[in-house]
């Protein structure tokens, strides 16, 4: 087992290195001189030249890349042009906001998606099954950004149930400790604030959850249907076991592996979807951080932001891979 984890980890290194190289190339390929960009159009030639020297932009590209890697290894993600703050410290609140949103969305997706899939398989070919599968089909085809707008229009503008955007009540700001507001408000015993945090989470969470929910529901259904046909299920039913226990205990246990695969894959993909959801709901997460940096041509932030998200994506997939071998002992890795 340890051997397998070790080998998989070693395989990650070239991929991560390759990613740093591609992001490095992309940023270097952007037209325009970064030094000029930082100093603005009025800067004198000498000051631009001095900054170029200072930033190492006059060095050959491989030296620049090597310096960049060295910085990354020591946790230096560069300095934001816009705020003049080190990105490594600035990025955390944004990341925490995205994590909170993504976990919340995944929670909704798993709870609703799995149950919808299980019940669809249980009552195959009934109206519930058809309805759930039609909704799931629409769910995979609906653009997240449109769904977000529809939710805002229906649930906040028309019904007034939830706030349109943001993470907290502006008049009652939350004291950030971990920057996970659900946790922060609980630590401080501010249960009223906890409620507003949940209220703010629901619309963007639902929008972000839709696609994984639909995919999880479809996967759960097909996986359960396969298992429900097997002999041991028939035996359990013949013994007079309650259907609920047969479905949720016996069948689910063997149907869970492909479902977990999908959940793992979708968790990584949520990070990508988060960019769009965050834009619509003005959610101060990493996607919005990168998106705003694009508007300001804040290249160090774009570069580090993309790299951090991409690294997380790879690492989540790695963890999911490792988890399988724990859950399903039949999987043998060679």
């Amino acid at each position: 087992m340890l051997h397998y984890i070790g080998r998989r980890f070693l395989q990650l290194i070239p991929v991560l290195l390759g990613m740093t190289f591609i992001v490095f190339l992309i940023i270097r390929a952007i037209p325009g001189d970064p030094a000029q960009m930082i100093l603005g159009q009025q800067a004198t030639k000498e000051s631009v030249e001095a900054l170029r020297e200072n930033l190492g932009l006059n060095n050959p590209w491989y030296i620049q890349y090597f310096d960049y890697l060295k910085g990354l290894l020591t946790g230096d993600l560069g300095v934001s042009i816009r705020t003049n703050q080190p990105i490594s410290t600035e990025i955390w609140p944004y990341l925490a906001a995205t994590f909170e949103l993504a976990f919340f969305a995944m929670f909704i997706a798993v709870v609703i998606g799995m149950n919808a899939g299980i019940i669809s398989a249980w009552f195959q070919n009934t109206w519930f099954d058809y309805l759930a599968m039609v909704i799931a089909l629409i769910g995979v085809s609906v653009p997240v950004f449109w769904l977000g707008l529809l939710e805002q229009w229906l649930f906040s503008i028309n019904l007034g149930w939830f706030p349109t955007s943001g993470r907290e009540e502006v008049r009652d700001p939350i004291m950030a400790i971990t920057h996970f507001y659900l946790i922060d408000t609980l630590i401080q015993g501010r249960y009223d604030q906890f409620g507003t945090v949940v209220k703010h989470l629901i619309l963007p969470g639902m929008a972000l959850a839709t696609i994984p929910m639909a995919i999880i529901a479809r996967m759960t259904r097909s996986s359960m249907l396969e298992v429900m046909r097997s002999d041991y299920i028939r035996t359990a039913r013949a013994k007079g076991q309650k259907m609920f226990i047969v479905v949720y205990k016996h069948a689910l246990k063997n149907a869970i592996i492909p479902i977990l695969t999908v959940i793992g894959l979708q968790t990584g993909l949520l990070l990508g979807g988060a960019i769009l959801t965050e834009t619509i709901f003005s959610w101060p997460g990493i996607g919005r951080y990168i998106y705003e940096a694009i508007g300001f041509r804040d290249y160090p932030v774009i570069q580090s932001g993309i790299l951090v998200v991409a690294f997380l994506f790879v690492i989540i997939n790695f963890i999911v891979d490792i988890l399988y071998s724990f859950i399903d002992k039949r999987i043998k890795y060679n």
């Binding site: 070239p14 991929v15 390759g18 990613m19 591609i22 992001v23 992309i26 390929a29 952007i30 037209p31 089909l137 629409i138 995979v140 085809s141 609906v142 653009p143 997240v144 950004f145 449109w146 707008l149 529809l150 805002q152 229009w153 503008i157 097909s222 492909p258 990584g268 993909l269 990070l271 990508g272 979807g273 960019i275 769009l276 834009t279 619509i280 990168i290 998106y291 694009i294 774009i302 993309i306 998200v309 991409a310 994506f313 790879v314």
Partner: protein, 300 residues
């Protein structure tokens, strides 16, 4: 050796005629209601795009600036989908938008299928270090969340619809590349390829005449499903302001513009989004149907 190989090939051709896998696939495809529904939706939007000049009551950007009474008008018998902030007929713009979205979707997918197939064939056929380099390159590209990579590429190329198309194509290259590579690896071991080599056929001819046609089915399946994602990705880039530019009636761009009128003119947002959803649904249904018909092994 060569003689037996040719004989084998003849036998196979005869057998193919008897079972005709394409006919069988067509029958499976037509039996699936959802696949047929998907095809109907896709054909509908293709027709809308082709006949946009006839269907759309107004031109792409016809506006009635002088007449404020036509601005942000709700859906009515005159303006089926209502009008936007410039008094432009949204129904007409949604119809014209079908041309843009389908062109970008098809264009991006064809481009990435060609590039991906080329790289995949080379990697699979030549193997060794060529394969290692190309496969690692695919791994790295796939390691990025696709929309993020597309954003990064557009930020180098500059925001435009054409660059959005290129970015989406690049992001999708590894999907096709890997597919073709694995197909080439399995086809390469078939006896008829050994036979072709034995009679002295050139590599390029083997690749084009034998390996490529045999990898066709999975590419069609992958391609149809990829069009669905490409359309959403293009709309997403335009929504973020990184794709279509005003006054192009791109559906994602129309949604972005509709955001400020959410409160008093929700129709500006509802119809373009509905159009994206239906088109994507059509391609998804059709792709699922094609997969079941052409390549049942690809399921899951």
């Amino acid at each position: 050796m060569a003689e037996t190989a040719t004989k084998d090939m003849n036998v196979q051709v005869v057998e193919d005629k008897v079972t005709s896998p394409w006919k069988e696939a067509l029958r499976t495809f037509l039996r699936s209601k959802s696949a047929v529904a998907g095809t109907v939706i896709v054909l509908f939007f293709i027709l809308v795009a082709l006949f946009a000049p006839i269907i759309a009551p107004e031109g792409i950007n016809e506006q009635k600036l002088g007449d404020p009474s036509t601005h942000l008008v709700p859906p009515s018998s005159e303006f089926w989908f209502g009008t936007d902030e410039f008094g432009r007929d949204i129904f007409s713009r949604v119809v014209w938008g079908a041309q843009i979205s389908l062109t970008v979707g098809f264009g991006a997918v064809v481009l990435s299928a060609v590039l991906g197939s080329f790289l995949g064939i080379i990697a699979g056929y030549y193997g060794r270090w060529v394969d290692t380099i190309i496969s690692r390159f695919f791994d790295i590209l796939l390691a990025f969340p696709s929309i993020l990579l597309a954003i990064a590429i557009v930020s180098i190329l500059g925001s435009s619809l054409q660059n959005a198309l290129i970015a989406i194509a690049i992001v999708n290259v590894p999907n096709f590349g890997r597919l073709i590579r694995s197909k080439v690896l399995s086809v390469k071991e078939e006896e008829y390829i050994t036979a072709a080599k034995a009679i002295g056929m050139k590599d390029s001819r083997i690749l084009l005449r034998h390996i490529l046609p045999n990898s066709f089915a999975p590419v069609i399946v992958q391609g149809t499903l990829a069009i669905a994602t490409a359309i959403i990705e293009a709309a997403a880039l335009s929504f973020l302001g990184l794709g279509a530019e005003p006054p192009q009636p791109e559906w994602g761009k129309m949604l972005a513009d509709a955001r400020i009128y959410l409160m008093n003119a929700p129709w500006t947002m509802i119809f373009p989004g509905l159009a994206i959803m239906l088109t994507v649904l059509g391609f998804n249904l059709m792709g699922d149907g094609l997969r079941d018909a052409l390549d049942p092994k690809m399921k899951n």
